[in-house]
Amino acid sequence: MLPGHRSIKTALRTALWFMFLTLPFMVVRVNTLKGEVEWRWQNMLWVGLAVFLLAIVWDIALSNRHKRSDRKPSASQTLSRLSQRVFHDKTVYLPIIAGVFCLALLFPWLFNTYQVNIMVLALMFVVLGLGLNITVGLAGLLDLGYIAFFAVGAYTYALLNTKFGVGFWFSLPIGGIVGATFGILLGFPILRLRGDYLAIVTLGFGSIAKIVFENWEEVFNGAKGIAGIGRPGLFNIEMSLEATTTYIYYLMVALVMFAAFMTNRLKESRIGRAWLALREDEIACVTMGIDMARTKLSAYAFGAFWAGLVGVIFAARNTYINPNSFTFMESALVLSVVVLGGMGSIVGVMIAAMVLILLPEYLRAVAEYRMLVFGAVMVLMMIFRPQGLVSNVHRYYRKHSETDAAQKG
């Protein structure tokens, strides 16, 4: 299909606008060595050309999309159907799970320590994503300060370990519980808030947590952070750095499986259904006999629990933490994981965390434009697939008598 007269005009306008916008950082460069300003006009040309072409492709894609939605099922609907089939057919999903599991087990033997280290980071974000998925994805409670619970877990272990010599394995559950406790504490004042107000307040909480860690020198050692945190041990066996990395890797794999399992069990239970109902309609939810306060607090607590757990592992892996690891950027990243993956979808969140953490690591070549690409991907997702990569799969409920018959027959 050829672009129409109008779409060319729009594309031209967009291109000009982008050329103007990108002028300061694409064209002008101050050479500090020679003390002069370089004007790279050819960059402007490239930007204009690229934006012009993209705008035309964009226009065609959009108009195709409108046409398709009138006639046959669109690509995204086909994808939804496909995912429904994948998740409901045992012969399809069991081999996939087995394959991914084997790959996960063999990973440290196939790749070097650097890759394993990046993978550990990605797996951490998988668990963080699964945790936030409970609060935001299932219960629909926006949380822009989620990373604060992660920080709470990390500082809990850092302090317990450096000041009292408490071991990693003992601290792990404590970190989770402290995280959950803070989830409940912060949950109380925001029980009645919704939408924009919830966003503002949780954003504030995230910032407050960081500021407290930064300024309470006596306890948290301020901006200097806490160093010399113990690595996770295994029966007092001395381990090399490489072995520890592999060890933490397997720990993370186990934690991911554990988190996915628990979230899935909750999702398909009385509690999970209450969370979903809360997300859909608060008023209908309470008139159906659901205690709003308890349901909200349990969602905050359970979400924060995972952040606390991962925080402990984060501190143990890095052996050093400071408040700069817990900025709004990290909260936004975890939230992007949930949104990109699909609200409430466990598999979607896992895939999204992998994509969002691994892509930037392997795109170091274009490191400067990472955030630009990141933003563009999010915008595209919102337009073409607002429900996320993998939309939430609803369990298929059969009548009890039917299940019995199926088992006997």
């Binding site: 069990r265 259904r273 859909e280 939810c285 008139t287 159906m288 939430n392 009890h400």
Partner: protein, 262 residues
């Protein structure tokens, strides 16, 4: 017939506006009571007060759950009112639209089950039994309202009339002794209204529930109600059997306007 719900001099103010002005009402077991009146008469506000969504400014609401002592419920949270045994539907359908039909009904079972977080994760025999019971009861309710074939569809994909019936099934899932229906026939065609008529009577006769309903469809109201209460401008202006209400000059005036105006 014993009293189930007794509302005395209920008053609700919104700032300077008095939406309900000393309204009293009683529902006895096995009764279908209709609450009618022109738009803006305060019927839905009355429902919201009874079910705990609003805290009434004055007056008292007492319920007498069968086999239990009386409870004064004004000021209770909605979930407690539901737990006591009063369930409602909404005028503008409030389903959990992104959840499946069966899940919607299962939500209604929430207050009658007790699995906690730990139980849900461990999924022991008790939790499993509860879950199966929930599924079975929900299916039975869907059968009653004729929605079994939609069980695993998303609620938002249902036709309008079916959504209304799903709301009734969801309310029934909470095991109420009194069902409050807010304009259940709104937007329905005559055939659907007839089906609804049968369903409501069936709920009363077979399940032994009392029903309090707000409705504008006069044919439906006159057909099924035992008693009718009429409200206008927040006040109760009449109460009686369908025949008495039909011939009440005050009611005729409220609905048709004063003759001197015309």
């Amino acid at each position: 017939m014993e009293t189930l719900l007794q509302v005395n001099d209920l008053t609700m103010n919104f700032g300077g506006l008095r939406a309900i002005d000393h309204v009293s009402l009683e529902v006895r077991s096995g009764e279908i009571v209709a609450l009618i009146g022109p738009n803006g008469a305060g019927k839905t506000t009355f429902f919201n007060c009874i079910t705990g969504l609003y805290r009434p400014s004055a007056g008292e609401i007492r319920v007498f759950p069968p086999g239990q002592k009386e409870i004064r419920i004004d000021g209770f949270k909605p979930n407690r009112v539901t737990a006591i045994g009063m369930a409602r539907t909404f005028q503008n359908i409030r389903l959990f639209s992104a959840m499946t039909v069966i899940e919607n009904v299962m939500i209604g079972r929430h207050c009658r089950t007790s699995t906690n977080i730990l139980g849900a994760i461990l999924r022991g025999p008790r939790t499993r039994r509860q879950e199966l019971e929930t599924i079975d009861k929900s299916y039975a309710l869907l059968e009653k309202v004729g929605l079994t074939r939609y069980a695993n569809e998303l609620a938002r994909n249902l036709p309008y009339g079916a959504q209304r019936r799903l709301e009734i099934a969801r309310a029934l899932a909470t095991d109420p002794f009194l069902l409050l229906l807010d304009e259940p026939a709104a937007g329905m065609n005559p055939r659907e209204t007839k089906e609804l008529d049968d369903l409501i009577v069936q709920i009363r006769d077979r399940d032994g529930l009392a029903i309090l309903l707000i409705e504008h469809d006069m044919k439906l109201v006159m057909n099924i109600s035992d008693r009718i209460v009429v409200m206008e401008y927040g006040k109760r202006i009449a109460e009686g059997t369908p025949d008495a209400i039909r011939n009440d000059p005050k009611v005729i005036e409220a609905y048709l306007g004063d003759e001197t105006d015309a």
